[in-house]
């Protein structure tokens, strides 16, 4: 059993990071990692593990998902999430939901309790109410730092990636459980000051999230539009299935070659059916953590 998680990729500079802040990020990653790993250790499914790990990342205010979501142009929090089960290729996703405490729980409910894969906006919120998914008030999502980010972006009339530096705020998790099943989950608060109901790659099966027991489980973070066009998560799986590449070879081609060629900045976390972990990114850094098949834990932010 293995698990890998991420809290977004981008220009994460040491110069703008304090020891205290770094410790907080590492603590956030560690808590989510342990939440997922605990489930795996007790014989739980990879699906439950990625769902819980992502929920913990959503609860952590420094990552752009759930509680820490950025403000859109209308001053709201519009969140996307998706989850996929590698065992039967079942999947669930939501886009543009407001006031849902943990969008990943709603994505899971779409997968388990509806005939659909993707629900959006008000309709998805109505489904959440029917499924008794926990909501939260605007206060819960309010964050002074995020609010200031939005005010700055509003003033300059620009759409902004997460944070004032170029960072793709998204969280995600992939895991393999004791029975060898793979699963992937992703959640995001989108882009600061985003307009026009823009949807990124996070809620799109194949683009931001993909899992298939025959190949791998992948959760992405990056410049969403380019990840959609390149159908990134599924591309990794195809390179393994149709070309016979290893997970590491497939990740290298997609992240360091194909994505780079089209200017697609970002990264991903992935596990294959043998329990190999890859956490590649072509940006300055990526908040990431994993526990491998030998139980070895890794928590990293920068390239080294």
């Amino acid at each position: 059993m293995v698990i890998a998680i991420h809290g977004g990729a981008g220009t994460i500079l040491r110069s703008s990071m304090t020891d205290e802040l770094q410790a907080q990020y590492e603590q956030g990653l560690n808590d989510a990692l342990e939440a997922g790993y605990t489930i795996l250790k007790s014989g739980g499914s990879s699906l439950d593990a990625v769902e819980q790990a992502v929920a913990r990342l959503e609860d952590f205010p420094l990552f752009n998902a759930g509680k820490g979501s950025v403000f859109n142009n209308a001053g709201k929090h519009e969140m996307d999430a998706s989850i996929m089960n590698g065992k039967d290729l079942s999947a669930g996703a939501v886009s543009g939901v407001n006031g849902i405490r943990n969008p990943i729980f709603l994505a899971r409910a779409v997968m388990d309790h509806s005939e659909h894969v993707l629900l959006s906006g008000k309709g998805a919120e109505a489904f959440a109410a029917q499924q008794n998914i926990a909501t939260a008030s605007e206060d819960y999502f309010y964050n002074e730092f995020r609010y200031q980010q939005w005010q700055e972006a509003l003033k300059e009339d620009r759409v902004q990636m997460d944070h004032s530096d170029k960072k793709f705020g998204t969280v995600g998790a992939v895991a393999m459980d004791k029975t060898g099943n793979l699963a992937a989950a992703t959640s995001t608060g989108g882009m600061t000051n985003k307009k026009f109901g823009r949807v990124g790659d996070s809620p799109l099966i194949g683009a931001g999230t993909y899992a298939n027991n025959h190949t791998c489980a992948v959760s992405c973070t990056g410049h969403g539009e380019l990840f959609i066009r390149a159908v990134v998560a599924y591309d990794i799986s195809c390179l393994m299935e149709y070309k016979g590449l290893s997970l590491s070879e497939a990740c290298a081609i997609v992240v360091h070659d194909k994505l780079k060629k089209i200017g697609g900045e970002g990264g991903l976390v992935a596990v294959d059916s043998k329990g190999h972990i890859e956490m590649p990114f072509n940006s300055e850094g990526m908040y990431r953590a994993s526990i491998d098949a030998d139980g070895k834990k890794t928590i990293k932010i920068y390239k080294d």
Binding site: H116, V117, I228, C238, Y242
Partner: protein, 335 residues
């Protein structure tokens, strides 16, 4: 002299590029179509609608227009035709609205645009095109997408424009049936018991004289859909995909399965990575993988050599093509 040289040079390169043969393929949805299930008058109307769409797209290809322009032109005709479930004639959601999705992809640049859940745009395919050409985004949804489309000059229509009696009656029939078994299944959706189309969606794929491929898809979704359900049509890689190195694909069917299989991209990847032919790749995905998972529907595909495929595991699918040499066919039933 210099001008003459440039002129001659461009003539040469132009004519060599023009050697490419152009092709347009369209579909109008897959469903339980069997001979005799549609009245002769209606069958003629379906054929006429498809012929008009072929003409609109082919005119562009013939005159040296791009595959992307041809795809938009053909889909616009199908959207405007109330017989097909896209644009005017779209099915009703459980809330009694028409919620439209569309997407387009340019195989030359891998650029793409899509809209989901729009209710006011006359031709959603033009909104998808605007997202591709005039925004930094790929997918826009709901009110925001409508606002953007309007700003970009897409024609906006009142809700009454999309409402057709036939589609409205379908939802009322389903409503009545539902009242009996209410509350049994949360979040449940029923296939429309419409003899004509189970999966109403329209789409087009084209190859232009310059050897470029494009694909587009537009739909009103599923009758009685609720909860802001989005199917495969606006999702790049699922319902629509185009790549000059491989093929252009537009799908129609039970969208959830097409999303989970990443259908359109999967066919492309089988060609690119497993070196399969378009026909073998599409056959394997549509006739093996899709039914294995429990889904059904259809697709059209086209590669750079002008090879055309269509596969459906429903009884019928509205489909048609026209080639550079005038060869053309319009079909509805299984052969």
């Amino acid at each position: 002299m210099r001008y003459l040289f440039v002129f001659l040079f461009s003539c040469c390169s132009y004519s060599s590029v023009l050697a490419q043969n152009h092709v347009l393929v369209i579909h109008g949805g897959a469903g339980s179509l069997t001979p005799g299930s549609v009245s002769p008058g209606k069958e003629a109307a379906y054929r006429h609608g498809m012929q008009k769409a072929l003409n609109a797209g082919n005119r562009i290809l013939k005159n040296g227009g791009t595959a992307t322009d041809a795809v938009v032109a053909a889909i616009k005709v199908l959207e405007d035709d109330s017989l097909f479930n896209a644009g005017k004639g779209a099915v009703f959601t459980a809330a009694g609205r028409n919620e439209l999705d569309a997407s387009i992809m340019d195989g030359k640049t891998l650029k793409a645009g899509a809209v989901a859940g729009v209710t006011t745009v006359k031709n959603p395919i033009t909104a998808a095109r605007a997202v591709m050409d005039k925004s930094p985004h790929v997918l826009m949804a709901g009110k925001g997408a409508e606002l953007f489309a309007e700003k970009q000059g897409c024609t906006i229509m009142p809700a009454s424009y999309f409402r057709t009696e036939e589609q409205y009656n379908t939802i009322m029939d389903i409503r009545r049936a539902e009242q009996k078994e209410q509350e049994q299944k949360h979040g449940s959706l029923r296939q429309p018991e419409n003899p004509d189309f189970k999966y109403g969606t329209v789409g087009a794929v084209a190859l232009d004289k310059y050897g470029n491929l494009a694909a587009g898809t537009s739909t009103g979704g599923m009758t009685n859909k609720s909860f802001g359900r989005i199917g495969d049509s606006p999702i790049i890689g699922a319902g629509t995909y185009a790549n000059n190195n491989t093929c252009a694909i537009s799908c129609t069917g039970w969208g959830e399965y097409f999303i989970r299989l990443v259908m359109a991209k999967s066919i492309s990847d089988r060609i690119e990575l497993a070196h399969m032919s378009l026909d073998d790749a599409a056959n394997e995905m549509m006739m093996k993988r899709l039914p294995e998972l429990g889904g059904d529907g259809g697709m059209i595909g086209l590669d750079r050599k002008g090879n055309i495929v269509n596969y459906f595991n429903t009884p019928g699918m509205f489909r048609a093509y026209i080639k550079w040499n005038g060869e053309s066919a319009i079909e509805m039933y299984r052969k």
